[in-house]
């Protein structure tokens, strides 16, 4: 053993390592492999992996897409009922353009996510189950297309959780999932 304050002059590399420490290093390497393996495997065996194509898009071009999405959708008093399986949402200070929408439970929708101005957050949870929540980052200049399927009907609440200015806390929206 040696002092951490003294220069080492002997060949410290060849000093044998304590057995317990070797076992611990082995456990650590194994655990790291488990962490890596499970995360990678979840892409195949799990239902939640935030994987989808991203396209560069100017805020103006994305606004045109949103306008077209709204024009094609059926407008109800609860929100836009998309014509197809695409949903377009843009964060803007301080709201979400494209929301609210009315979706069908069990149907897969492609969410097209972007921002008109600054960075925003897309934090979603069912109104009655706050622990079931997730967040995606919305960036101006990028359109992220991510498929999502909601099996449980209900109202889902959207919170901006990336700081976007003094009105940040008021930036909320919702969408509805019907049977």
């Amino acid at each position: 053993m040696s002092s951490p304050l003294k220069p080492q002059t002997d060949n410290w590399w060849d000093v044998p390592v304590h057995w317990d420490e070797k076992v611990w290093i082995g456990i650590s390497v194994f655990w790291a492999l488990v962490l890596f393996g499970w995360m990678t495997a979840w892409g195949s065996i799990g239902n939640q992996t935030q994987e989808g194509p991203t396209y560069q898009v100017s805020p103006n071009a994305f606004q045109t897409k949103i306008d077209s999405f709204k024009a094609r959708a059926e407008e109800t008093d609860r929100g836009f009922r998309p014509a197809g399986s695409d949903v377009y949402i843009a964060g803007m200070r301080y709201g979400f353009d494209g929301l609210p929408v009315v979706l069908k439970a069990g149907k897969e929708y492609d969410f097209h996510l972007s921002s008109y101005d600054v960075q925003h957050g897309f934090g979603v949870r069912p109104n009655d189950a706050l622990s079931k929540q997730m967040t995606l980052q919305l960036l101006p200049g990028y359109e992220w297309v991510l498929p999502m399927t909601f099996d449980e009907p209900g109202t889902y609440h959207v919170v901006c959780n990336e700081f976007c200015g003094v009105g940040h806390r008021t930036m909320h929206a919702k969408f509805i999932v019907e049977k």
């Binding site: 951490p4 992996t49 706050l130 079931k132 003094v166």
Partner: protein, 578 residues
């Protein structure tokens, strides 16, 4: 009291008046280190400046925590964001970085028994750092529309004041200047003694400095173009580019904290607990792993981002970063094992944990360091790995749990460790008795306990209630019927714990400043037992059991596995994504 060891108080409260020989050296009666005046004075200067930043950031903590506890709702939204920025910059940056320059000077010239090379650079660095820190604080306090409070991240294209970006560039340059004397001292040492290895503490400080320079260069790559964009010379700034560049320094600066803290753990467990290095090879290899892999840790900020491929995310946060996770797990074993083996060798414990129970728990240096080690590992390390898993990050990103994670690392780990280091510096470098000693002994327990509770509440509020970070109100949201009022009971616990934790931080300032003003000058060997010299002995290690450490690390692993499984369970309850 031996008059030769206590200098009379003269200018500057006698804080810089230790007795030195003709060449400016003195031998520390506790550590046996040969300390030069130039090194000691700059360590004191940077340490004192850090404590001032801690005070400013701590005052801001009152406004931040008491706004988030909506029963109090202390400030309005704009003021909240300004206070939050002041809180972040003073505690995450200024308190840490000023301490870390001091730690480099301890780990380099002080441990090596050398003069501080080019003290003029240290002085210039300190002046530039202090000036820009004050400047940044002024910018933070006076932020107003159309600029937004930068918080820590100043995410473009949301603009902050031009002076803020420029002040940050100057602070980065000042820090690089202040780090140069350390690097020169390492270069001098290796030139004079090419065939001997640096002491482990110096080696750790050297790796810290390299990681720090990488982070600081990342900072220049980020802030110079952002400043040019802010003043109109560059027309467009890309949000994805900014995020990726920013996190080189944004997380890199926190990795400086990690490495500096671990270096301090090796140093202080040795000098106040009798720890020895059980394997130079293993501990140094762990530092090398950090050198190559810890930077990838920054990628976990980008897991919920568009514009980055899944393969990029998986490679950086898992395959590569686990090189750093393994390094942390190695240190988590090596440091307590060094304490256990060192104390057993001296006959200070025969049972499984008696080496630990018999340790100097009344010494606030020792208790601070041990709390730092345990809490960093159990709360900071585990949460960091979990939120760094690509899919799990979906449920952590930008929630209050993220804030919980970095309070576990930066406060429960680094700040508590650095408080222990300040107590150590007060006694061994300023050579003062601790003021209000019973309070000083109590402070690490009180602070670690209350701050842990505060941090746990942040984690629970974020994960179990999805409370967003950076919101001044969540139980009453203008313009919507929806709210997070279900979380109010936990906010009660959070609010009370935060008040107590801030009180614990104030006690630290009281003891530290009180000791310097009123503490009795004394020879430190009357306060701390001298460090017994370590005989380099290859065989003695295997005569010592480290079973206690092995047991503790298995407990740690069990907590890690259970927390990991619970987080995947929570994620699996979500709808189909991707």
């Amino acid at each position: 009291m031996d008059p030769s060891t206590t200098a009379p108080r003269s200018g500057l409260l006698g804080l810089f008046d230790n007795p030195y020989d003709e060449e400016g050296f003195r031998t520390c009666s506790v550590t046996g280190l040969n300390i030069h005046r130039s090194v000691e004075n700059y360590v004191k200067l940077f340490g004192l400046t850090a404590v001032v930043a801690l005070l400013v950031g701590g005052i801001a903590a009152i406004f931040v925590a008491m706004t988030r506890w909506e029963l109090v709702s202390l400030t309005s939204a704009p003021d909240f964001y300004n206070w939050l920025s002041v809180h972040a910059w003073n505690l995450l940056i200024f308190w840490m970085v000023f301490m870390e320059i001091g730690i480099l000077y301890v780990g380099g010239p002080m441990v090596l028994g050398r003069k501080l090379p080019t003290p003029s650079l240290a002085k210039t660095g300190w002046i530039v750092m202090l000036g820009s820190a004050v400047w940044i604080n002024v910018e933070l306090f006076t932020t107003s529309a159309p600029d937004s409070a930068p918080l820590l991240t100043s995410y473009a294209p949301l603009p902050s004041s031009a002076g803020f970006y420029l002040g940050t560039i100057v602070f980065i340059l000042g820090t690089i200047i202040a780090a140069l004397p350390f690097l020169i001292s390492i270069w001098q040492e290796k030139t004079e003694h090419p065939n001997r290895s640096l002491p482990l503490v110096s080696f750790g400080a050297f790796i810290t400095a390299i990681v720090a320079l990488e982070a600081l260069i990342g900072g220049l790559i980020t802030y110079v173009p952002t400043y040019l964009w802010r003043i109109g010379i560059v027309e467009h700034i890309d949000a994805a580019w900014y995020r990726q560049m920013y996190w080189i320094i944004g997380h890199g600066s926190q990795q400086i904290n990690l490495l500096a803290m671990i270096t301090v753990w090796y140093f202080l467990t040795h000098v106040v607990g009798g720890a020895e290095v059980v394997s130079e090879k293993v501990s140094r290899t762990a530092f090398i792993l950090y050198l190559f892999f810890i930077n990838m840790g920054a990628a976990h900020h980008l897991m919920a981002d568009p514009a980055l491929a899944t393969v990029w995310k998986e490679w950086n946060t898992s395959y590569a970063v686990y090189g750093a996770v393994i390094a942390s797990m190695i240190h988590a074993f090596a440091i307590p094992a060094g304490l256990e083996a060192g104390r057993r060798k001296r006959g200070q414990g025969k049972g499984l944990f008696s080496w630990l129970m018999s340790a100097p728990w009344k010494d606030p240096v020792f208790s601070s360091v041990i709390f730092g080690i345990i809490l960093f590992g159990f709360l900071g390390g585990i949460t960091g790995v979990i939120m760094g898993q690509m899919q799990l990050n979906l449920t952590w990103h930008n929630t209050f749990a993220t804030v919980g994670h970095f309070h576990a690392t930066v406060v429960l780990g680094t700040t508590i460790t650095f408080m222990g280091l300040v107590y150590f510096v007060i006694r061994l470098l300023f050579r003062r008795k601790l003021f209000l000693k019973p309070l000083a002994q109590l402070q690490p327990y009180f602070y670690a306990g209350t701050m842990s509770l505060t941090t746990l509440m942040m984690l629970y509020l974020g994960i179990l209630y999805g409370i967003p970070r950076r919101h001044p109100s969540v139980t009453d949201i203008p313009g919507t019927e929806f709210d997070f009022a279900a979380a109010e009971p936990l906010f009660w616990v959070f609010g009370v714990a935060a008040i107590l934790a801030i009180t614990g931080g104030a006690l630290f300032i009281l003891v530290a400043v009180g000791s310097l003003l009123f503490g009795e000058p004394t020879d430190p060997s009357s306060l701390v037992p001298a460090v017994e010299p370590v005989e380099d002995d290859d065989t003695s290690l295997h005569a010592q059991s480290v079973r206690g450490t092995f047991t503790l690390t298995l407990v740690f692993l069990a907590v890690f596995v259970v927390t990991y499984v619970l987080n995947w369970y929570l994620l699996s309850r979500l709808w189909h994504i991707g």
